[in-house]
């Protein structure tokens, strides 16, 4: 065995030692009888519940095997939450991007829109919930509204900043090479602002993910946020924790995806982090 692979094993061991210790302590605490298992279920119990929550309810009979695999309650909730995040994020981003590009490029438009943006931006998206329910009732419409607001402002602010920070030397070089306004915009300003825009999108989808859970806890009857609120009403703490764990995994997955997208789109960029 080489020194490198030994170091790899060592690093892996170092990474898992704390999580394993926490799980063992938690299990011991739950088994000790000091705490009510309804308040703090053991990790084994949570894992069992998670599996029950994950697996298909009926046994496989006919039709698509893949569909059957995700016919359980947890896959349904995950898909519901994820589609809301993606849908709301896309709405927010598609509105914020063109506005941000225009506000960044034109001082006149910036002066026109910026005051309103500055007034609305500090309002947490969650504060829109009462209005969202009043306007759109319950269900998907208020959820999409709230999530798109959560994504809108980070993307907008970063896009504006990105366009405004484009190095003048690129503009001069492009004009020297004969670029007109449209070429300058689409082939120089937008790509040069891309690192900022992508940072905005990462923050935006992070906010969208927070908002989807809150929206589901209040205004929707499906999804992971709804499920853990429902589980509280039945005092199913194991299901709450299983749901929280799933939310965490989903967030990690989204972040991983955004990071990969970032690295792929910015492979030309000098200072990208390799995490």
């Amino acid at each position: 065995m080489g020194a490198a692979s030994f170091r790899g094993i060592l690093n892996f061991a170092r990474g898992v030692v704390i999580p394993v210790a926490v799980l063992v302590l938690w299990q011991l605490l739950a088994m000790s009888g000091w705490v009510n298992p309804q308040i703090l279920p053991s990790p084994v119990q949570v894992a069992a519940k998670w599996w029950e929550y994950l697996r298909p309810i009926a046994s496989y009979s006919e039709g698509s095997y893949a569909l059957w695999l995700v016919s359980g309650e947890l896959p349904h909730d995950t898909i519901a939450s994820l589609s809301r995040v993606v849908g709301g994020f896309l709405i927010g981003t598609l509105l914020a991007l063109p506005l941000g590009l225009l506000m960044g490029a034109s001082n006149r438009l910036y002066g026109l829109f910026n005051p309103l943006v500055q007034v609305l931006r500090p309002i947490p998206p969650i504060a829109y919930i009462p209005l969202a329910i009043l306007w759109f009732g319950l269900g998907n419409p208020p959820a999409f509204f709230l999530i798109s607001i959560g994504a809108f402002f980070p993307v907008l602010m970063n896009t504006i900043a990105g366009v405004r920070h484009v190095d003048g030397i690129y503009l001069r070089a492009a004009r020297n090479l004969g670029a007109g306004q449209m070429t300058l915009f689409s082939r120089v300003i937008v790509p040069a602002a891309m690192p900022y825009i992508l940072t905005g999108m990462r923050i935006g989808i992070g906010t969208a993910f927070i908002v989807v859970i809150v929206a589901e806890m209040i205004a929707v009857n499906s999804g992971l946020g709804y499920r853990i609120t429902e589980a509280r009403e039945y005092m199913w703490s194991d299901k709450i924790i299983a749901g929280m764990f799933t939310i965490g995994l989903l967030g990690l997955g989204i972040d991983y995806f955004m990071n990969s997208l970032n690295n792929w789109l910015l492979k030309w960029h000098r200072g990208i982090d390799q995490n």
């Binding site: 001069r172 007109g180 960029h269």
Partner: protein, 264 residues
């Protein structure tokens, strides 16, 4: 006259007044000529180059390109510019950077491909055509910037201290390469530098500029045949002559700097 600069003045507003960057500049550059603008920092040599490029037109006076005074009011591909900071688009590969100007010109695909290929080979960039600028050395990047300008077929090349950030050996290699290109393509070159040696090595004529306000202090013709031997007596005599002219301005620059610090 190819580039005809007449009574050009340029001033910039600064807090509490204005700085006169260029004063009564008169300079002619003939077709196919290689002219160096030489002077210390702050003498306005880059300002003059930017005025020719059309980035920042003069406050008064005129710049005529091939007899037309309207051209230099705006930047354009007839006056290709090579910047000290390369100014390559980092999101484009080497090949895409060279292709960019041709795409703007809407050249037919086949002609475009042929042209890009020729330039990639001519400047020894073919192996690197898929790379991004961040993965190349400074010398390589400046080659790409030169190729990008050559692709435009512009009769005039404007170069703003293009080799200033390179090490001495790379610098000499690129100087030789530039002379070869100049010879092959018969370009008119205006080349800004603060290196006396570089100006003597490259130019047909060196215009020495004064420090603030920037004026043309003296024009020195360099008739030595190329390739020039930088160790020859003639070369060193010219260096000495230019050095005397430039160092007087450098002294004024240094004194102004010191006064600037001690005035506070």
């Amino acid at each position: 006259m190819f580039i005809h600069i007449e009574n050009v003045n340029k001033s910039f507003p600064v807090p509490g007044g204005e700085v006169i960057a260029l004063k009564d500049i008169n300079l002619d550059v003939g077709e196919g000529e290689f002219v160096c603008l030489l002077g210390p920092s702050g003498c306005g040599k880059s300002t003059l180059l930017y005025a020719i490029a059309g980035f920042s037109p003069p406050t008064s006076g005129s710049i005529a390109i091939n007899g037309r005074t309207d051209i230099a009011r705006f930047p354009g591909p007839d006056r290709g510019m090579v910047f000290q900071e390369y100014a390559l688009f980092p999101w484009m590969t080497v090949e895409q950077n060279i292709r960019f100007g041709l795409e703007i010109k809407r050249l037919p695909k086949a002609e475009m491909n042929g042209k890009v290929d020729t330039l990639l080979r001519k400047l020894n960039l073919y192996e690197f055509r898929e790379r991004f600028p961040k993965d190349l050395s400074g010398g390589m990047n400046q080659r790409v910037a030169i190729a990008r300008v050559l692709a435009l077929d512009s009769p005039i090349m404007l170069m703003d201290e293009p080799f200033g950030a390179l090490d001495a050996l790379t610098r000499r290699t690129l100087q030789d390469e530039l002379l070869r290109i100049w010879d092959d393509y018969r370009k008119t070159i205006v080349f800004v530098t603060h290196s006396i040696e570089e100006s003597v090595y490259l130019a047909d004529r060196v215009a020495v500029m004064t420090y603030r306000p920037g004026t043309i202090k003296r024009e020195v013709h360099i008739a030595m045949p190329r390739p020039r031997d930088s160790a020859s007596a003639e070369f060193n005599a010219l260096k000495k002559e230019l050095s005397k002219l430039v160092m007087e301005e450098q002294m004024r620059y240094t004194q102004t700097e010191i006064q600037g610090y001690t005035a506070d």
